[in-house]
Symmetry: C2
Amino acid sequence: MDITQQNKNYRYANTFRRLLRRNARPNIRKILSRTHPADIANIFAFFPLDDKITLLNCTNDNEIRAEIITNLQLHNAAELISRLETKLAVDIICEMSGDDQADLLGELDEAHAAEIIAAMPVEESRDLENLLNYHEKSAGGIMNPDVLAIHSDSTIAEAIKTVQEATDVDMFFYLYVVDENKSLIGVLSLRHLVTSKPNILVKNIMNPNVVSVRTDEDQEDVARLVTRYDFLAIPVVDDTNTLVGAVSVDDVIDVISEEATEDILKMAGAGDAPTDYSSLMKQTLSRLPWLFAALLGGLVVALIINYFNDTLIKFIALAGFIPVISGMAGNVGTQSLAIVVRGLATRRINVRQIWKVIGNEILVGMVLGLIYGVLLGAVGYWQFLGNTPLAINLGIAIGISTISAMTISTLLAAGMPLFFAKLNIDPAVATGPFVTTTTDIIGVTAYFLIVNVMI
Amino acid sequence: MDITQQNKNYRYANTFRRLLRRNARPNIRKILSRTHPADIANIFAFFPLDDKITLLNCTNDNEIRAEIITNLQLHNAAELISRLETKLAVDIICEMSGDDQADLLGELDEAHAAEIIAAMPVEESRDLENLLNYHEKSAGGIMNPDVLAIHSDSTIAEAIKTVQEATDVDMFFYLYVVDENKSLIGVLSLRHLVTSKPNILVKNIMNPNVVSVRTDEDQEDVARLVTRYDFLAIPVVDDTNTLVGAVSVDDVIDVISEEATEDILKMAGAGDAPTDYSSLMKQTLSRLPWLFAALLGGLVVALIINYFNDTLIKFIALAGFIPVISGMAGNVGTQSLAIVVRGLATRRINVRQIWKVIGNEILVGMVLGLIYGVLLGAVGYWQFLGNTPLAINLGIAIGISTISAMTISTLLAAGMPLFFAKLNIDPAVATGPFVTTTTDIIGVTAYFLIVNVMI
């Protein structure tokens, strides 16, 4: 946690607050134009919506406004845009890059988005509508349509001229080479551009082994390619290999962070991340389903315990060991689950090693089960010592139950995500609640069966 | 999961296997020199160590060998290097970039690392030893020491010449500008280099507002800066502002992924990720501590249940509801924990909003508690209906216990990481086992107290 940065932002926000109170617009304008928009966006987080609008109105530069809004969290950006007059909103949005436009419009309510698109210049709105047609988690959905392309018959001098004239292309690192049909046939790095003679033809020094993705490629796979090859950007083509955009590494970073968040929340059975705190209903609904599964599982556990009521009444202290044993099993299972799900996501674990991974987890589960089984068994023996001649049997039963429950739990927790991955289903749906509930059912059953055998 | 890629790698591995069997070294050499080292590294995962060495020996090009080894997972790379003769190992390592050398040497056992360093050319080994002095999770530990620097008084033409001559600098995107003391005073993008006249002085077009990090800066903060400003690399300076290296965006991606893994494993109470499956001992030890905490907590729960044995014997079916109620509370708490820990990591949640976040989680916990409390209460009422006139009271007690336990659980699960973050402690240490165990203790106590009040 870089607390220093947070404190800096806080002090900065106080400065803005003072200036706002004094209505010192020229000072604010000066700060806005000098500070990196990402920093201003961070400071904006401290202000209520009305103040955000006042701050934004201190400058007349729509490019600065667009950059600040682009750097806000998406739901905050949408909230802000919704409060502006349509004309101003359109002017600001037109200063954004295509992918940022699409993200923002996708976050607005449909009627408002339609209104803004209708008010945009035809060329801009056509491009934007094309982008909005792609799935938001596909290469098309995260790409920037503004790329630098050059014909393979051009010279290096012409290529450099293209770079010089492309003032509206934000970040770029490669020149993509196309043929007369706009088909992607090669790539040229800026470094090559700098170090080549002006009269050489692009096609003679380009790298023809250009790796590209199709518009419908999943964003996670796009991220994986960029990461594997250490690319700074990857070109996106349509069905006919026509260059339509590029995904740059900063978008890939967002994808990686987003996918990790999704995995964590899925594993915790928390469904989709609530991106804001506006709707209690939405939050409740996204968290309800896995809890319902846990409830059903829990009721099965209650039924099983009820079935063994006679044993329980005879040795009432057995009741106290139910939560300990299922807790230990649940916790060791959660560990295995996290290791396997994350291992699969980061490719440290390969689906083809399924038996090796499961075997390893079971082994760890058994060793841990043995350690804690002996401990718990001893506690159980001591607990029943004064009350029944069966104390030793009950102690052994508790120990064996712990070992069994912990071993089975690691088997389930490691096996389920691997099994899902094998079936090409997202392994993160093997959620914590699912694993702990299943473990509870099997653990409690084993517990009472073993106890009944031992007495 | 891009199964297609995995299948492609699998088929590729089969080709290699066939060629190995036929000992068709020239064919293998051809494939090795034509295929991207990242792809070869993926294929290497399918082979045992001996075959890896045979494959590596099919080429004589140490640069290709170095690139393949760099792309392997670190522990596999170290295992492979350990099996090579020192002379060959040194030759290969000398072809790697400084940061990759440091990572690899850090993974070897100390004696072997020392042996390799001693056998390296003096200049290389001095640089490497400098790098090894930095903490592996600091900017110095992840930076590449080979950067392109240019004096501010140079011309653009001279800068371009520097770029042309720097064949050993791997990836770069910026030229860093230094003064006569090698102090960092500005930055120049390759794009500016391409689009400027040859006789202009670097100092006249450089950006003097260069953002840099100190060598001891935490890697997470480095990643945050690069992500926030969409940099492709960030320069690293020492105490005297002397340029000593740069962290590039591909390393930042690794940091982000690594930190997400750490958060997930910590949250699951699984400690440090085991990077390999070699040591059962190491895996067991890393998972033991939180399980021990859970055991102690579980024994406290057992004590509490024992204390209420009389109530339990009177209404034995109450025992069945213990795991359901604590399971529901544990699950809703795990959800809150995941949302808050990940929210803090991604900066979606700000520590300053502590009460807003806790309030929101409690509200969600209460609503969910109400829903499942009513359901469980009804089940409880129905359960006791034939056996006791107190059925309605017991049902209400079960319902109220569920609501209380679920609400308290969300309070704890949201509050603990926020509290840790406030104290500048990593919020991910508020682990799942800790939350579920605490929840169990409070939940069971509340359950029996409420039941006793109601009967």
